[in-house]
Amino acid sequence: MYEFTYNRAASVDEAADLLRKSTEASLLAGGMSLIPTMKLRLSSPPELVDLNGLSELGGIKVDGDTLTIGAMTRHAVVGASPEVASAIPALTALAGGIGDVQVRNRGTIGGSICFNDPAADYPAGLVGLDATVHTSQRSIPADEFFLPLFETALNSDEIVSSVSFPVPEKAGWSKFANLASRFAIVSVMVSVRGTSVRVAVAGAKDCVFRVAEMEQALAGDFSPDAIAGIGVASDNLNSDQHADAEYRSHLITVVAKRAVAACG
């Protein structure tokens, strides 16, 4: 690992100042993605700004029909939260299935979405649930937040403060995981809110994406059978040692049906 300077941020404002002073500085949240990439020298930030300890970035609250989760809330806390379980049980399932116990004790929702690993779980969760990302500068709809290949819509000095989720009438999560890493080979979040149906898929491409054809079919008939004949072509799907593009194409329909079934 290359050398770096370590800063403990005392506030979000101070962290944003540090990012403005050093354009190559990196924020450190749970570190479950950043530290492994630094060890492999895939990233080498000269400066780290540690957000751990900023209580203003924590907390889970339900206000009316909106669930808000602070950016530094750890996966284990989301997975064990009674507020989350009663508002959006599919999010409890998602958070409880990220990595393993030790990873869930450190990893955070903010860190996960900012890293935007195409096989991570929260990007599909946010897009599938029509969430909004709140930052130190503005609010960004999940549909516009995630960009291909580990990129996001964030400015270089912008810090995610929380994520808010409109409570859906129903939602279902299903993941076909790589058994070693627990990253998604294909994962799907499905939700229904009023006349809006969302189907978000992760793990299969360079970025989370929605499947409009499935959403339309489910709006007419919300059942696994309604999407049994709808597939996503294998063109432009990921192909690697874990699953080739054809297999991922097959899995998208299977996992989406399971997510619909999980809505109960």
Partner: protein, 157 residues
Amino acid sequence: MATTAVNMTVNGKAVSAELDPRTLLVHFLRENLSLTGTHVGCDTSQCGACTVRVDGEPIKSCTIFAVQLDGADVTTIEGVALNGELHPMQAAFKEHHGLQCGYCTPGMVIMGLDIAKRHKDPSEETIRHELEGNLCRCTGYHNIVKSITAGAKAMAE
């Protein structure tokens, strides 16, 4: 090299150091404090041999910088025994042959303690699920699960 000061409690003892910030917790424990019970199995955050307890929660000490833990309370395998006697979880591993080469054992015992803390009388399925972050290259999972079942039972008594 710029260093960063850190103060933490390890196995009940206060420790202070000036560290190169890139020092991982596991290396601080092993090389600075000579607590070599915590192992590095993979160094890629997968195997769990480096699992230690920080402020009551098990984490992978190869995936956190020691300087992040200013003010934290850390427990390693060396801090598990009670007054020179094996902790009931350690005794259960001995009794049920929960170790072969022993390399993964420190992490398995720390996880066993956490499983027992969070689940009353955990089922085999629960234990196997909770051990997803701990790999045993001897593939001795069966006896590890038996050990944690017995250890959790002994702790509940």
